[in-house]
């Protein structure tokens, strides 16, 4: 498969936007503009961006708490994302959700989740609807290595398997669930072998190789529409702490450094230059655009109104 220049542009831009979004979000915390917490996916940009860019609007995604890459990958509006992060009325969830609960049904994002593993059963339902209506689309469910130890993971894979539901289960394995290394939370190294228990296909990929993830997602979609669900494990690493407050006593600086060398953005850049898909100047321009996009989003959010207490009962019920 040879991806077009347009696709490479898209992937490179989205990964840069994600990184810029999060670095800016981290700054906003320091400036005291945001309360609460956030979970950053810096270092994992290729996972959400690679998978979601390969989907159509009609394909659904279920996001995680660490899902800015998934949202941007699925073409969410960055202004509305930033406004939600700031708790503003113009945000995706009218300031009621925050970045742990962000959704854009119009682009197929059925929402991020604050509950580890919370999206897995929901994904089976969305896929059931797609199957029921004989749609040619799939549901992609993101979750972490830690989440794969929850009952929800095992029950959902089994249900999806016996009902042949069109779900792509995407496990972002960043080697830790909060402070707990994968080696202490499960007795296997390759999470994709869990698929075998449910009689479905499982694959493990380099989670920092955006091009390969994109291509494999296209193939997976085709496979799933024919054969039913599949488990795709993306092996990667989170550069930042688990959330805003994390002293990171559970890992070494060397380990972090090692993974920073495998930066998904750098890797993609190298690929583009080596294959002469774009020039250095073109890539710099894309980087600049990402910065500008986020600056605009920050401004949009800053100038947006706060939600009103008078509207608090809106949306509790339909």
């Amino acid at each position: 498969m040879k991806l077009s220049k347009e696709i490479h542009k898209e992937l490179y831009l989205k990964m840069n936007q994600t990184r810029e979004f999060e670095e800016t979000a981290a700054r906003l915390f320091v400036e005291g503009k945001v309360h609460g917490t956030a979970h950053f996916c810096i270092g994992e940009e290729a996972t959400g961006v690679g998978v979601c860019s390969a989907l159509e609007v009609e394909d659904y995604i279920l996001q995680t708490h660490r899902g800015h890459n998934q949202g941007i990958g699925k073409n969410m509006d960055i202004n509305k994302m930033m406004a939600e992060f700031r708790g503003k009325a113009t945000g995706y969830c009218k300031g009621k959700g925050g970045c742990m609960h962000i959704a854009d049904f119009s682009v197929g994002s059925l929402g991020a989740n604050g509950v580890v593993g919370g999206g897995l059963p929901i994904a089976t339902g969305a896929a059931l609807k797609q199957k029921y209506n004989k749609e040619k689309n799939i549901t992609v469910c993101f979750f972490g290595d830690g989440a794969s130890n929850e009952g929800a993971f095992h029950e959902s894979l089994n249900l999806a398997s016996v009902w042949k539901l069109p779900v792509l289960f995407v496990c972002t394995n960043n080697l830790y669930g909060m402070s707990t290394p994968v080696s202490k939370s499960m007795n296997i190294e390759d999470i994709s072998i869990r698929a075998a228990s449910y009689g479905i296909k499982g694959i493990a990929l380099d989670g920092n190789d955006v091009v390969n993830i994109y291509e494999e997602t296209l193939k997976a979609k085709e496979y799933i529409l024919e054969n039913g669900p599949m488990l795709m494990v993306l092996n990667t690493y989170r550069w930042m702490g688990h959330s805003k407050s994390d002293a990171q006593i559970y890992r070494t600086k060397d380990e972090v450094k090692e993974w920073k060398e495998k930066c998904p953005i750098k890797q993609h850049k190298k690929f583009i230059l080596e294959n002469k898909i774009m020039t250095e100047d073109e890539l710099v321009a894309i980087g600049k655009q990402a910065v500008e996009d986020i600056e605009k989003a920050v401004e949009f959010a800053e100038n947006s109104p706060e939600p009103r207490i008078e509207d608090i009962f809106d949306d509790v019920y339909a």
Binding site: H101, G114, V115, A147, G151, G177, T180
Partner: protein, 326 residues
């Protein structure tokens, strides 16, 4: 007396009990070297080691059931659920197994376990990390339910909970973890029995019945009213199950005016139970006004900090409710 934080008080209670009782173990997510999501168990892994301080995978149902099984068969257990919202994942083992085991098997065994979990809003963590779910567990016979409002209460009540032979749901308050208060010296074996309310402020004009984070807020309001000569009694129930009905009833008789305050959503909240205790008793004949209830608005906790602060009882709302009563 020395002052320590609410989090330190909980840590002391667990550590003291673990030193005393070799059959006591503690399990939860990231409670080991990491010290727990809120730092409550800092230092315990170093002291008691990996056999007694068990870092678990993310698997609330299994942790809770594992604790119940170990407790049924002779160990005593403490489980930490990182946010009380995730009790919902543990609920089957907690409500159907741990709570019912002794009764349904005709008293053959007991389940001496404590499930600790922080609840409450105010941290910007939004709808799935901010709930006050005490009414869910108070509704299940077989479970005891504790919510301490001060470091001293946290310590004394947790030690009592650990020594109790029943499953106890010990609901901590996130926003109180860093709050300091006086706690008896370390050499004292400081126990507060479950089922005893505490009059946190005496008064003769109005009774506020409350618990948890709202206790301090109600005391603050009471102090404002005291400036105008209105003396409010603040009763902290401390344990929802078993409930110290006598203290509530006698305070209601004394003042003749009762306001119930809690952070949890009002509809179906534990406040309804507290009101019933008062009006079903002979205190009814002493009442000068209908008993009032003030809970959180019936909405999920919103993310925006301005909204988040306004969906729970504020000082202004408590003040207005008292004025209504007077």
């Amino acid at each position: 007396m020395r002052e320590i934080t609410y989090a330190q008080a909980i840590n002391e209670a667990m550590s003291e009990e673990m030193r005393r009782e070799k059959n006591l173990i503690f399990m939860g997510e990231d409670i080991g070297l990491y010290g727990g999501a809120f730092g409550v168990s800092k230092g315990m892994f170093e002291e008691f080691g990996p056999e007694r301080i068990l870092d678990t995978p993310i698997t609330e149902l299994a942790i809770t059931g594992c604790a119940a099984g170990a407790s049924m068969t002779g160990l005593r257990t403490i489980v930490e659920i990182m946010f009380s919202d995730f009790m919902t994942l543990a609920m089957e083992q907690l409500a159907n197994q741990a709570a019912k085991n002794r009764f349904q098997f005709g008293g053959q065994g007991s389940v001496p376990m404590v499930l600790r979990a922080p609840g409450g809003s105010g941290t910007g963590a939004a709808a799935q990390h901010s709930q006050s779910l005490e009414a869910w567990v108070a509704h299940v016979p077989g479970l005891k339910v504790v919510i301490p409002s001060t470091p001293a209460d946290a310590k004394g009540l947790l030690k009592a909970s650990i020594r109790d032979d029943n499953p106890v749901v010990f609901l901590e308050q996130k926003l109180l973890y860093r709050v300091k208060g006086e706690v008896p010296d370390l050499d004292e074996d400081f126990i507060i029995p479950l089922g005893k309310a505490d009059i946190k402020r005496e008064g003769k004009d109005v009774t506020i019945i409350t618990y948890g984070r709202m206790v301090q807020r109600c005391i603050k309001v009471a102090e404002e009213f005291a400036k105008d000569g209105v003396e409010i009694e603040v009763v902290d129930i401390r344990t929802l199950v078993p409930l110290d009905k006598e203290t509530l009833i006698s305070s209601a008789k004394k003042t003749g005016k009762v306001l119930v305050v809690h952070e949890a959503c009002q509809t179906g909240g534990f406040g309804g139970e507290l009101v019933s205790v008062v009006v079903e008793s002979d205190a009814f004949f002493y009442l000068d006004a209908p008993v009032k209830r003030l809970g959180g608005l019936d909405v999920p906790i919103p993310y925006n900090p301005g909204l988040e602060a306004l969906v729970v009882p504020t000082e202004e709302k408590i003040t207005a409710a008292i004025k209504d009563l007077l």
